[in-house]
């Protein structure tokens, strides 16, 4: 026992620890820059944000020590227990938490405020790892797959009920873990298609060429092309393929000629082709009595159904502020003083940084509070403005190295538990990075989630530290088994 505890300092991955330390230090400097104001208290004063962040960082080191001292089996044995506890805490939070800007996710403990959602990430990761490492678990078994989905969706639903949609979306990143562990790639493809179809339809919804709604036509053509390519992988007869492609181009050609004389709605033409394709697939399945084509037909039908429900979902299910955020990020709505203010200002702050930035504490946009939430969700603006392109790229490269290092560590795990947990860590960090940097640079909609190690906040720093170091603890004893 004693031997092993000394051994941990040799076997723990110092590369990751080094990157972690560099990131939190860079993060602290950025927070100091972001919250600095004229005539402010000193950087190390505990009443100021840089000071308190320094305190969180110190306490994190304590947490790290405790985690590294724990037995590996502790996490395995108590995985479900911790998961259950956090779920209870999340549910309790819905009822106990005060309303802060419309969300009920903060528990007030008197001396500090905690956000249980930040800690539910590692318990969910542990529970998923535990489940997937259980005997004879296989994602190809529907029952097992549903169990995994249950573990992922339960905390997600709780968090949505707390009105923290942003944090809830993070749980979607677990699908990357499932993908690594053998989930069919079609699920990811379906997810990506859903996003692309949605964006295309929304972006071109109001564009009408002739009498053809461009958004619909585009998505339908995409569905048609994807369906045909999927079909192509299943069928061997070249002749059939030629006939199908010829039919598609021929139909559009004829429609094109006809449109010279009478207006033609091309979206109905492509819809007709899709219908024809589905009928053909059904016919083929019945004729040859094989089910392998039916999945493609299902994809086609579901996609079309999805396309036609997008408008409904967007207008009737999404909240107005969510609609606006999506519209702004798609460039459909330019509203620099209203909903687009944050993104517009954050782009100005980042864009004004130039190559070398304005220098530490010299950022005007962040100092003068033009960027809201600048030390939490929009912290990257300070990096962009004060450290410029060089500092921003350095941050991205550090993060890239960090995530890829975690992938390498995950791959070297000898058991499923370690690997699944490792990929959970990878996916969560990656998702945060993707959405956070994406939103501040105006590429993705504004989803309020922090940039790990950079955004101010104890809960978030602790949550990510625990998440990471449990993995490092698992990794340190990978050879024990």
């Amino acid at each position: 026992m004693n031997y092993r505890k000394k051994e941990i300092w040799k076997s723990v991955d110092w590369v990751t620890i080094f990157l972690y330390l560099v990131l939190i230090l860079y993060g602290w400097i950025t927070i100091a820059g972001a919250s600095f104001d004229f005539g402010d208290v000193g950087l190390f004063d505990l009443s100021g944000r840089p000071g308190s962040q320094l305190l969180w960082m110190g306490l994190s080191l304590g947490l790290i020590f405790v985690i590294l001292m724990l037995e590996r089996s502790f996490f395995d044995i108590f995985a479900y227990w911790m998961y259950g506890l956090l779920i209870l805490l999340l549910i309790a939070t819905i009822f106990l938490a005060p309303d802060v800007k419309g969300s009920r996710s903060w528990l007030d403990l008197g001396f500090m405020r905690l956000q249980p959602a930040e800690f539910a990430k590692f318990t969910t990761a542990l529970a998923l790892a535990k489940l997937m490492s259980s005997y004879a678990f296989s994602l190809s078994k529907t029952r097992d797959f549903l169990k995994a989905l249950f573990i992922i969706f339960l905390p997600m639903v709780c968090i949505i009920l707390e009105k923290e949609t942003g944090s809830a979306l993070v749980y979607l990143s677990f699908f990357l873990v499932l993908f690594r562990e053998g989930m069919s790639g079609y699920y990811l493809l379906a997810g990506i298609c859903a996003v692309i179809f949605f964006v295309s339809e929304m972006k071109f919804a109001e564009v009408v060429v002739g009498i053809t709604p461009l958004g619909k036509l585009l998505v339908e053509i995409m569905i048609l092309v994807i369906s045909l390519f999927l079909f192509q992988t299943k069928i061997k007869s070249r002749k059939v393929l030629y006939i199908i492609w010829a039919t598609v181009f021929g139909t559009f050609g004829i429609a094109g000629i006809v449109s010279c004389f009478i207006p033609v709605d091309f979206s109905w033409v492509s819809l007709g082709l899709l219908a024809f394709f589905v009928l053909y697939i059904i016919g083929l399945s019945v004729q040859q009595w094989v089910g392998k084509y039916l999945l493609i037909g299902a994809f086609t039908v579901i996609s079309v159904g999805y396309l036609f429900s997008v408008d409904y979902v967007f207008n009737d299910i999404l909240e107005p502020h969510q609609q606006v955020r999506i519209k702004v990020s798609l460039g459909l709505k330019d509203d620099p003083t209203g909903a687009g203010y944050n993104v517009n200002q954050s782009k100005i702050a980042i864009g004004s940084g130039g190559l070398w930035g304005k220098g530490f504490l010299n950022g005007t946009q962040t100092k003068l509070k033009y960027v809201p939430e600048q030390d939490t969700d929009f912290i990257f603006c300070t990096v962009g403005e004060e450290q410029g392109f060089v500092g921003s790229v350095l941050l991205l490269l550090l993060y890239g190295a960090f995530i890829i290092r975690l992938i390498v560590l995950s791959e070297r795990q000898k058991d499923v538990f370690g690997r699944v947990y490792g990929y959970s860590v990878v996916s969560i960090f990656f998702f945060h990075l993707f959405i956070n940097i994406g939103m501040v640079t105006g590429l993705t909609p504004v989803i309020g989630i922090p940039l790990p190690f950079f955004s101010y906040g104890g809960s978030s720093l602790w949550g990510f530290t625990i998440l990471l170091f449990i993995f490092l603890r698992l990794d340190a004893s990978r050879k024990d088994r």
Binding site: F38, Q345, G351, L368, E385, I407, Y423, F430
Partner: protein, 634 residues
């Protein structure tokens, strides 16, 4: 455990390749972000501008405008504090408009119109809701005091200190010019200006605007998202201090200018006096004149309209803008051309029998001995001698193969003497006068013309037009013996050398040796000669004055009275031209005015013996009857 381990391994091997997809995704996302940052931070420079617009409030610090002195260092134009009401549209919050209008003595309609005008980017191209815009300018200290007290009630408005021009003398309004708000045309032409700025609108203020205005400074203040000023940017490191405008020293003798205006009171016309050697203009009197103070501050608009409607045209700068037939003052130029061309020698004599004998007595002349030489012809202002000369020059085919060529040679002489084109005075609005060329006459007379057709130009009538400045420049050229320096009113620009145009000598096409005969003839006109004298009124006991009268016929009424001269005869210190509109013979009014002006300049005071003359001139009114009517109505 072992069995499951094997199963796990097999499964993990099966999907191990997926790690590459995951790593690939991470790498692609990071590359996309780097490209995005490259676009935002390196390629698109707009964000820097927007950021600066956000954070920096550039407060303009206006430089003080250059001060203007006369040639003896007398202060003429200086600056006084005034106050502008500024507004930043973005910071304006609802306030009591009525109260605000009452304080500024404006109506609600005027208030609304001003706001609309400020926001109109056509009128105000530099408009931004973030930057201060002039709401109302040039408040006096009292008006401003009331507003200052209540300013806290009107967020978005504040007071900016400016200066207005102040004049020591109520004279020389046209010469000194004035300062007014720039219009959209100025803003478009010169990006130095923004709406609400001032620039010289006339006179010296306008022609020397670039020197007088200085350079604006800017104080860079930091402004937060709520519009609050958070201090100076980097302790004012990037502030730009204003550079004061350059002071000007004029060549004008203000005392002489004032005296000239007094003499010309109630008469129309102008006086120009030039120091021949340097081309420095000593006075530039235009009558009627006005007090430059009238066009300062907010009364400017009203007064400007009043002045421009006045039938006496006080805004018309006669000495440089009015073009008159020069009459007999033109004769010296003719003598010079004939001498240079060898048409005559100083001894050549022409006959005169109460007129130009070649054309049966037209143009007519007065009685004097005949025949007479050039000097005599100048002294008695013979109307026959010069037509004879022109006839010999143009109609003799020995000299030039055609009259056209001969005439264009003549025209070139005139141009070299400063006629027909702008001289290049450093004031706006100078006119070029008129010297015809052969093409014009070919057109008028269908190609069939000779000296007789156009003979009146030989005595400064006909098509010829010249400004008083050009006439005075001729006097200066004769005084110098063959060259002139481009006339100018500014003698010195602080720390800046004068344009070489105003320092180099311009020689005419006539050799200097011929000028001596002209000067001598003009001296004869003053002191008398065997052939007579037309200009005795300018004869001073102690200074040798040379002069030439002119009586220009014109279609607008009585003849214009003209005097041109210089003094002393040798080493002349001053050249002069006096024009009095519709005052009859040159000797009647222009000569006495010239005499008094010469005395004033050369002696600094008028001798007792000339006091009655001075009083008589000052009290004389020569205004056409229609003007009296106009004046009576007021």
């Amino acid at each position: 455990m072992n069995i499951s381990g094997k199963v796990e391994n097999r499964d993990s091997l099966r999907y191990e390749n997926r790690k590459f997809i995951i790593i690939g995704t991470v790498v692609v996302v990071i590359i996309v972000f780097i490209i995005r940052l490259f676009v935002l931070q390196i390629m698109d420079s707009n964000y820097k501008v927007w950021a600066d617009n956000n954070a920096f409030l550039g407060k303009t610090i206006y430089p003080s405008r250059g001060i203007i002195y006369d040639r003896y260092g007398k202060l003429l134009v200086y600056n006084q504090p005034a106050y502008d009401v500024m507004m930043i549209m973005r910071e304006v919050q609802p306030f009591d408009t009525l109260d605000f209008c009452n304080i500024l003595h404006i109506t609600k309609e005027q208030f609304d119109k001003r706001i609309v005008d400020i926001k109109n980017r056509k009128l105000n191209p530099g408009y931004s809701s973030y930057t201060p815009q002039v709401f109302m300018n040039q408040l006096s200290a009292e008006e401003c005091g009331v507003l200052q007290e209540k300013l806290y009630k009107f967020p978005g408005f504040y007071i900016q200190h400016r200066t207005v021009r102040e004049y020591t003398y109520p004279n020389a309004g046209l010469l000194l010019g004035n300062v007014g708000e720039v219009n959209s045309e100025d803003i478009r032409k010169d990006d130095y200006y923004v709406m609400g700025d001032y620039s010289g609108r006339a006179g010296i203020e306008r022609s020397y605007e670039k020197y007088l205005r200085g350079e604006k400074g800017v104080e860079i203040l930091l402004r937060d998202a709520h519009g609050r000023i958070k201090g100076r940017y980097e302790n004012g490191q990037h502030d730009v201090a204003p550079v004061s405008g350059k002071n000007l020293t004029l060549s004008i003798d203000m005392e002489l200018q004032v005296y000239g205006e007094q003499l010309m009171a109630n008469k129309l016309g102008g006086i120009v006096m030039i120091e021949p050697e340097t081309g420095e203009v000593l006075c530039l009197v235009s009558s009627p004149t006005f007090d430059p103070e009238m066009l300062v501050g907010r009364k400017r608009g009203k007064n400007f309209a009043k002045l421009s409607k006045d039938p006496l045209k006080p805004l018309f700068n006669r000495p440089i803008m009015a073009t008159y037939p020069p009459g007999s003052t033109f004769k010296p130029t003719q003598g010079l051309i004939f001498l240079q061309e060898g048409v005559i020698t100083p001894e050549t004599r022409y006959t005169c029998a109460h007129g130009y004998t070649y054309r049966g007595g037209k143009p007519a002349c007065h009685g004097h001995p005949s025949p007479l030489n050039l000097e005599g012809a100048l002294s008695t202002s013979c109307n026959s001698f010069f037509p004879w000369g022109l006839h010999d020059m143009l109609d003799s085919r020995k000299r030039y193969p055609s009259i056209q060529e001969a005439f264009d040679v003549w025209k070139n002489y005139m141009v070299s003497m400063g006629y027909g084109y702008k001289l290049g005075l450093d004031l706006p609005g100078e006119k070029r006068g008129y010297i015809p060329n052969s093409t014009i006459y070919d057109k008028i007379y269908n190609g069939h013309w000779n000296s007789s057709t156009i003979i009146s130009i030989a005595i400064g009538q006909g098509e010829i037009l010249a400004t008083p400045l050009q006439i005075c420049n001729l006097a200066a050229t004769i005084a110098n013996g063959g060259y002139f320096v481009t006339p100018h009113v500014v003698k010195e620009i602080e720390d800046t050398p004068l344009d070489t145009l105003y320092t180099k000598r311009r020689y005419t096409m006539v050799e200097p040796k011929y000028y001596e005969y002209i000067a001598s003839g003009m001296r004869g006109a003053v002191v008398g000669s065997p052939f007579g004298a037309t200009c005795r009124g300018a004869n001073l006991p102690d200074i040798e004055v040379c002069g030439k009268t002119g009586t220009a016929e014109n279609p607008h009424g009585k003849d214009h009275s003209i005097f041109m001269g210089f003094a002393p005869y040798k080493n002349a210190k001053v050249a002069i031209a006096v024009f009095v509109e519709n005052a009859g013979f040159g000797a009647t009014y222009a000569v006495p005015i010239g005499r008094l002006m010469l005395e004033k300049y050369l002696k600094r005071e008028i001798p007792e013996s000339d006091k009655p003359l001075e009083e008589m001139i000052m009290n004389t009114k020569i205004l056409p009857s229609m003007y009296y009517l106009g004046a009576a109505e007021k």
